[in-house]
């Protein structure tokens, strides 16, 4: 292993020297690192394997797919990206988001920084912003065609899901992560989940607006605000171990329409704060679910 790291490192060093003044358009592929899950998965979809990404250790829990190739180096926590690793990787381009605004000046001392706005305090629907950010990223790394191709495929998937939903009969869905047996995060406008539901023709059963990340923290009893008897509840993994057994004993939970057999389902997670890949994964998960209940 040490040998390999050394070689990777020397290659990076050589690449840095070769590229000189115009690093992004050098003969060799630019070395790109990403500090955001959504941007990391988008890179893979544009055919670029990042040199390193932040929070690689938890990738398999939150993002799941696409799989990260083993060559990718872990940069540590996004909010405290390890500058020693970052500097040693000698990237040409660092991808970041407004969430890491305060790191930007220091990142700029290492390499060119491209900040893409998806989740930002000034709000706005996430899916269109994610698509725009994908285009911008494609243009910045010379992969415009790949970006269009990727977006086109995603739109096609959404269209296909939309048709399948239409056939299966759309039902309102409430989307939550259980925090414990008493609290949940519920996803609504302007979040990614909500945008995808709208895109593929599924009504969001939770109509209250939420924060710019697209979620709200509620008590389980608040789920009673969902009055539509047709509505179904989707609980995304990971689910805390004692949550469902405790809920099963709750008369309130048991009188919620959701608690009836088939009223709720536990689905694998798709990153709720992701971009287009995560939107596609989410669309597939809920469409598959709707087809099973119809």
């Amino acid at each position: 292993m040490p040998h390999m790291h050394r070689r990777t490192f020397m290659a990076g060093l050589a690449a840095g020297l070769l590229q000189g003044a115009c690093p992004l358009f050098a003969a060799e592929a630019p070395r790109i690192v990403s500090l955001d899950y959504g941007l990391s998965s988008t890179l893979l979809s544009l055919g670029v394997v990042p040199a390193g990404i932040a929070d690689l250790a938890d990738w398999h829990i939150w993002v799941v797919e696409p799989e990260m190739p083993p060559s990718v180096v872990d940069l540590g926590a996004a909010m405290q990206v390890n500058f020693e690793v970052l500097a040693a990787l000698k990237p040409d381009l660092i991808l970041t988001t407004p969430y890491l605004e305060q790191l930007k000046p220091k990142l700029e001392t290492v390499a060119t920084v491209l900040q893409l706005d998806i989740y930002a305090p000034d709000g706005g629907d996430i899916l269109p912003k994610a698509i725009a950010a994908t285009r911008k990223l494609g243009a910045a790394i010379g992969r415009t065609a790949e970006a269009e191709d990727f977006i086109g495929k995603a739109e096609a998937t959404f269209d296909a899901c939309s048709a399948r939903v239409n056939r299966a009969g759309p039902r309102p869905l409430a989307l939550v992560n259980l925090l414990d047996a008493r609290h949940a995060r519920i996803y609504s406008s302007p979040g990614l989940y909500d945008n995808v539901l709208a895109r593929i023709g599924i009504p969001n059963a939770w109509t209250d607006k939420s924060n710019y990340w697209g979620f709200d923290t509620i008590g389980i009893e608040d789920l009673s605000k969902v009055r539509d008897p047709e509505a179904r509840l989707i609980i995304f993994e990971p689910v805390p171990p004692d949550a469902l057994p405790t809920l099963a004993e709750s008369p309130l939970w048991n009188t919620l329409p959701f608690s009836r057999p088939g009223g709720y389902a536990i689905l694998p997670g798709a990153l709720m704060f992701g971009m287009v890949n995560e939107a596609v994964r989410f669309a597939g998960l809920v469409t598959d679910y709707l087809e099973t209940v119809s």
Partner: protein
């Protein structure tokens, strides 16, 4: 119970109950009116969420208040309570640890886990308090230090383990929301049994009011009584924490109100505290529900009670009788032969060695350990140096602040971490994050300084008013820290990812330190350390006690104010680099005494070197252990700090 002394508490109970019922009526009238035949979700929510939640609030309020009243009676300490003695946060930390590392345990017995956590916290607090003869001041001091420590550790564990989940936060900030009658119905018999047992203690507790000598003469075994009462009080707090999480300060507020409104005898205090506690938490919780409904926002009741309850600590401080005792440690070690110069040179050499190792030993991408090679030095050395320098300087400054505070107050538990300066800095950064949205590193530093200096100014004002009694300043600082903790708890529980940033900052990392910061901090350190050494005569004389010191010509107000200012500024500058909870200011002065240094000048120099060395070591460990992720230096040294403290006390005990 006499009618006269019960009139006031009865009025308080009645008033808060009426207010609570009014809010409760506002809250539920829609559901009430619709309560009728057939399926109605509003009716169900009323029956299985709102009503059990109210019942839970009543039971938890009663239990916590009874716990606080028991503590206060048996310890004869008006500031004792599950919050101020660290009992609730001990239970919470145990639950967090179990949830993260042994979730199976929770299935079997949440109560047992909480009880063990509470008992350990209580044991530590009493162990720490024992050396000061269980003086009210020492106990509360130890309790709040443990409380802050447990809270910080629980928060950071949450942070490191649950990226997008905030359930542990909600637990730590105490939410009463319910989906069934399971919790109130299981809590009721447990609390009821303990309340009955507590009733058996009323007579002996009345006897103890006669004074310990009189009570012993009447055949009362005071040790046994203390143990029994503390046991019951700990159990009450643990049950509540295991059921709903940490509900702060009800156990302090309720007995205080009972006494202020006229309850005198132990039986009156116990009974009325319980009733007032129940009605008070009920009122708070329905208000929180009502407000949260209106703002469509999630508010944990526990953190809200703490935000309002902790200022009460400040108001209560003048009621606290503190006994000033000269520090004994210096005297005790006077016989040991020591050559301060040799010791300091050896310590300095070791610190230099640590700093050198921290610079050249590290890990490369992929995780391999490696010595810093020449070609890498230009990139990595430049990244490591400012952090090492900042850690060193922060350690030095906090250590010297600790020496000053401990000598100034004659209290070996004193340290900058508990002065509240760090809390002030945290509030400044919090304000920045949640008002300016995305402050730059520079702005954060400015806001942190502003917060720290505001607290410093407040401390001066309070000190001047209370006749410059240093103990009150320290407790005031702790009360402030508890309030900041509560505010951060509220923010954290709302789940805003920015709260995570604040937590990272509080856990104390040198991550954000840049070269200009190092220069500023160096300047602060040089100026303040010089000042500390100039005034070392005061530091030599003050531990002899106020009378002796003033007879030797020390102007007490001037000396105390000056030293407090120096210690405060040192703490502020140190906190900027390593966060509010490193405990280095507590450890380093003790370590300096342990290796045989005595006298203000030698102790100051020794503590500075040791503090700097320890902080560099903590920073290095934090950077390398879970590479490429990082554990903040402040947290690493805090984790060492608590066991160190216990070790220290056991050796001396």
């Amino acid at each position: 119970m006499t009618i006269r002394s019960s009139f006031g508490p009865a009025m308080v109970t009645a008033l808060s109950s009426v207010a609570a019922l009014l809010v409760a009526w506002l809250l539920t009238r829609a559901d009430m009116s619709s309560a009728g035949g057939g399926y109605d979700i509003g009716h169900m929510v009323l029956l299985y969420s709102t009503l059990p939640r109210m019942a839970t609030a009543l039971i938890c309020g009663a239990a916590l208040a009874l716990s606080g009243a028991l503590f206060q009676q048996v310890l004869r300490n008006p500031l004792a309570s599950p919050t101020t003695l660290g009992i609730s946060s001990g239970a919470n930390l145990a639950l967090v640890l179990a949830m993260l590392y042994m979730p199976g345990l929770l299935g079997f017995g949440r109560d047992l886990v909480a009880l063990v956590g509470s008992a350990v916290a209580a044991g530590l607090v009493f162990l720490l308090g024992a050396r000061r003869g269980f003086s009210p001041f020492a106990l509360v001091m130890a309790g709040l230090v443990i409380s802050l420590w447990c809270g910080a550790l629980a928060a950071v564990l949450t942070l490191l383990n649950e990226r997008y989940l905030v359930s542990l936060f909600i637990w730590g900030s105490g939410s009463l929301s319910q989906q069934s009658w399971v919790i109130p119905l299981s809590l009721l018999p447990k609390v009821g049994v303990i309340a009955l047992l507590a009733a058996l203690l009323v007579r002996p507790l009345t006897l103890i009011e006669l004074g310990e000598a009189g009570a012993t003469a009447l055949g009362l075994r005071i040790g046994t009584l203390r143990f029994a009462a503390v046991l019951l009080a700990v159990a009450l707090a643990a049950f509540v924490t295991s059921a709903v999480g940490v509900i702060g300060f009800i156990g302090l507020v309720a007995p205080t109100i009972a006494r202020l409104s006229g309850a005198r005898r132990p039986v009156e205090i116990l009974v009325w505290s319980t009733l007032i506690g129940a009605s008070l938490l009920f009122l708070t919780d329905v208000s929180v529900m009502y407000l949260a409904g209106a703002m469509s926002d999630f508010l944990p009741t526990g953190a809200v009670t703490a935000v309002f309850g902790s200022p009460l600590l400040l108001l209560l401080l003048p009621r606290l009788k503190s006994r000033h005792r000269p520090a004994e440690s210096g005297v005790r070690q006077a016989q040991r032969r020591s050559r301060p110069r040799t010791i300091i040179v050896v310590a300095a050499a070791m610190t230099l060695l640590i700093a050198g190792a921290a610079l050249v030993v590290g890990r490369l991408p992929g995780g391999d350990w490696a010595l810093l090679s020449h070609d890498l030095f230009s990139t990595l050395g430049g990244l490591r140096l400012p952090r090492i320098a900042a850690a060193f300087l922060a350690g030095v400054m906090l250590a010297v602040a600790g020496v000053i505070l401990q000598r100034l107050t004659g209290n070996e538990m004193a340290s900058p971490e508990v002065l509240g300066i760090g809390a002030g800095a945290t509030l400044g950064v919090a304000a920045g994050l949640f008002v300016v949205m995305e402050p730059s590193v520079g702005l954060q530093l400015a806001l942190a300084s502003a917060g720290a200096l505001t607290v410093l100014a407040a401390i001066f004002l309070i000190t001047l008013r209370s006749g410059l009694a240093p103990e009150r300043v320290l407790l005031g600082g702790i009360a402030l820290s508890a309030m900041v903790d509560a505010i951060v708890g509220v923010l954290g529980a709302t789940g805003d990812p920015r709260a995570m940033f604040l937590l990272r900052w509080m856990s104390g990392s040198t991550y954000a330190v840049e070269v200009p910061t190092v220069w500023v901090v160096t300047l602060c350190a040089v100026l303040l350390l010089t000042a500390a050494l100039v005034f070392h005569r005061w530091l030599d004389l003050l531990p002899l006690g106020p009378a002796a010191a003033s007879s030797l010509g020390v102007s007490l107000p001037t000396a105390r104010l000056t030293l407090l200012a120096i210690a405060g500024l040192l703490s502020a500058a140190g906190t900027l680099c390593v966060g509010p909870l490193s405990f280095i200011g507590l450890m380093a002065p003790h370590a300096a005494r342990e290796i045989g240094l005595k006298g203000a000048r030698a102790t100051t120099a020794g503590a500075a070197i040791i503090g700097g060395g320890l902080m560099v070591l903590a920073d290095w460990a934090g950077r390398t252990i879970v590479f490429p992720y990082e554990i903040p230096a402040g947290l690493v040294s805090a984790l060492i700090g608590a066991p160190f403290l216990i070790l220290l006390i056991r050796r001396r005990g």
